[in-house]
Amino acid sequence: MYKTCVASVLALMSAGVAMAEDTFKIAMIDPFSGPAAVVTERIEHVLRFAVDDLNARGGLNGQQIEILTFDNQMSPAETAIQAQKAIDAGATILQTSVSSGNTFALVEFVQKYNRRNPDHQVIVFDGASHDPAITGEKCSYFSFSWVLNAQMKTAGLASYLASRTDITKVYLMNAEGSSGTTTRQAVIDMVGAARPDIEWVGDDVHPLQKITDFTPYIAKIEASGAQAVITSDWGADLALELKAAGEAGLDAEWFTYFSTGPGAPTAMAQSGLNGLVYSAFDGDAGIQNEELHAYEAAYRAATGGLSASAFPGDTSAIRALELAANAAGSNEVDALIAALEGVSFKTVYGADAHSRPDDHQIISQMAISRFVDVPDGALDEEGTGWGWENVAIIPADVITLPNTCEMERP
């Protein structure tokens, strides 16, 4: 029995996957299986599109970029395991996008790894997880965040709501877990400060991704007389609650953080919530944005209909990487980090952006958009015929918050 055990181990181990040696490797460590895989799929397309473009132009200092994918099965622990595999496969940049929990795990892993292996260090890119702690208390010299964090977006939302004096009764709807609770607190603090007249008529913290029927919550919102709901929900939770709201004919406005994500546009279009759902997002994904339009047209032609603008962080990351590598004239980790700090570039929305050297947080303008039935031929989402219409652009300085990162530099 043991012999057979051992033999099978040996056989399988020797069959390890051969990797090309001469490429610059970026490892995507994200859930490629399970319910969240749908998000990863979208991100992978965006990332590959950006990288293909860069490779076509000669790559990174002449070196082609190769994307490796690792399935973390949506588990932080598995993220750490896959990170080790990615490093052994020769990855220089480890990128994760789905779920802050996984990002924390990756950052912590790389912190420890780089400390224990000073000769072979790696960089973390955060492509879409928006927990402020990633560039706050858990910030790392080795990690860069390419999306606006929840606190910045909340600041933007607060600034927009300051102009919406018609809204005075607001309902808070968030999921359990760090993402939901930190966003909830940020909303209470920032929106509360901007609009002291707002009354919080409801404040629900519901189980994360477990509820199949949100009708009871909608009934509560209806009964509370709320004019608006602010929610940090995402994925199935968001889709289900918007559907339930549409069905019940709830006429409150929704201020969301993740309604650009997969499934939500479909749910919104189905529910007929025309113009009722607002998104606080990294950029102006709206139908009016010409620059984005050109980019999207190329992207959609290449990948088959889905939008790139839902995941701007991954494109930003590659753009910043290209500029930094050019500036550094090297693809070495030390040089790249030095050049990435403070690098300025343009996002897919055509807005200026830079990575703040203090905490490696991207700083850019943001937009509030609402989801509407768009004219034929305009940019729509998920083939629904509905798309984003910009209602406000919040300049970068409004949402730039003080640095809270105490970065340990080597």
Partner: protein, 319 residues
């Protein structure tokens, strides 16, 4: 809690409970007949939703309402004939493990065919209107339709079991399979049919729930465990028990949401407004727990308590 919230919660509880019952009825039917706790039942539900989606976008929702459950039922019958029946010799554990593996494979197969994104399965136009308005909130006709279908299924099942010859054979096979076969009835065929019908019921629930909940590969895993709670709490094999337990779970989950109460509020009543710092972080966790958060825990508490103190469930006759 205002009267609106109570009214709405009651209506929602019943609706949600009925959807659960549609699912649980098939599961409990299969269990009572065959002693098989079918872990793949929620998977058949999901397959029903996907079939419903595919058929309805070709020939419309109402044909799908009939065709999809039939297709799922046939699938179920095939599974029984070529899978379950063969593992029968390994006992209930073998059957349970088989359905466990089947659930796994079905979820993968669904992703393989339809991908991981939710499907755009819409409420049919004919039912996409507000049925009535209560306290200013519209009530969608489709939900009412769900209710009607669930009640109809319950009635039809009850009638089928109580009044028809087939029902008699099914009921008798439940307790005396050998005797029934000796009276000339093909009991394995009965079992296959029951499994097929049970699966078809799950498929029907899928077609109906597909547009309301989101048709996606995780919809099976989300509902699976709660079904077992219903079947166990109701009394393994009792249709009436499953009906009551479905409503019970519907009420628990709906009202847990509706009640705005936190542990802190309870302490607030007795004048304690801050958690004593001495007890640290754990107590402040408890402090912040709301009834809505406890809601999902209650069914499992009920399950464990039921198995320990009344293993035959609410309505079950056998332990």
């Amino acid at each position: 809690m205002g009267i609106e919230v109570v009214t709405f919660s009651v209506v929602n509880s019943i609706l949600y409970g009925m959807l659960l019952f549609l699912l649980a009825s098939g599961l409990t039917l299969i269990f009572s007949m065959m002693g098989v706790l079918n872990f793949a039942h929620a998977s058949f539900f999901m397959v029903g939703a996907y079939f419903g989606f595919e058929i309805s976008r070709r020939v419309g929702f109402f044909p799908a309402l009939v065709l999809a459950p039939v297709a799922v039922g046939l699938l179920g019958a095939l599974v029984e004939r070529f899978g379950l029946r063969r593992v029968h010799k390994f006992g209930h554990l073998g059957e349970l493990l088989f359905t466990f593996g089947l659930a796994f494979v079905i979820e993968e197969a669904v992703q393989m065919i339809w991908g991981r994104s939710p499907q755009d399965f819409q409420v049919p136009a004919a039912l996409n209107f507000t049925a009535f308005t209560l306290f200013g909130t519209g009530y969608p006709a489709f939900r009412l339709f769900m209710l009607v279908v669930a009640v109809a299924v319950f009635a039809a099942l009850a009638l089928l079991l109580a009044r028809t010859r087939i029902g008699l054979i099914v009921k008798a096979s439940l307790t005396h399979p050998e005797m029934v076969s000796m009276l000339g009835h093909d009991v394995p065929l009965v079992f296959m049919s029951v499994f097929g019908v049970g699966s078809a019921l799950a498929g029907l629930a899928g077609v109906i729930a597909g547009p309301v909940l989101v048709t996606q590969p995780s919809m099976a895993a989300a509902l699976g465990p709660i079904l077992f709670v219903i079947v166990v709490v109701g009394g393994l094999g009792s249709l009436a028990g499953a009906f009551v337990a479905s409503l019970l779970i519907g009420f628990i989950q709906t009202f847990a949401v509706a009640i705005n109460l936190k542990v802190a509020d309870v302490f607030g009543l007795i004048g304690v407004t801050q958690p004593p710092a001495a007890f640290g972080a754990l107590l402040s966790d408890i402090w912040n727990v709301s009834v809505a958060q406890v809601g999902p825990v209650i069914p499992y508490l009920l399950l464990v308590a039921m198995l320990m103190f009344r293993p035959m469930g609410l309505f079950g006759k056998r332990a």
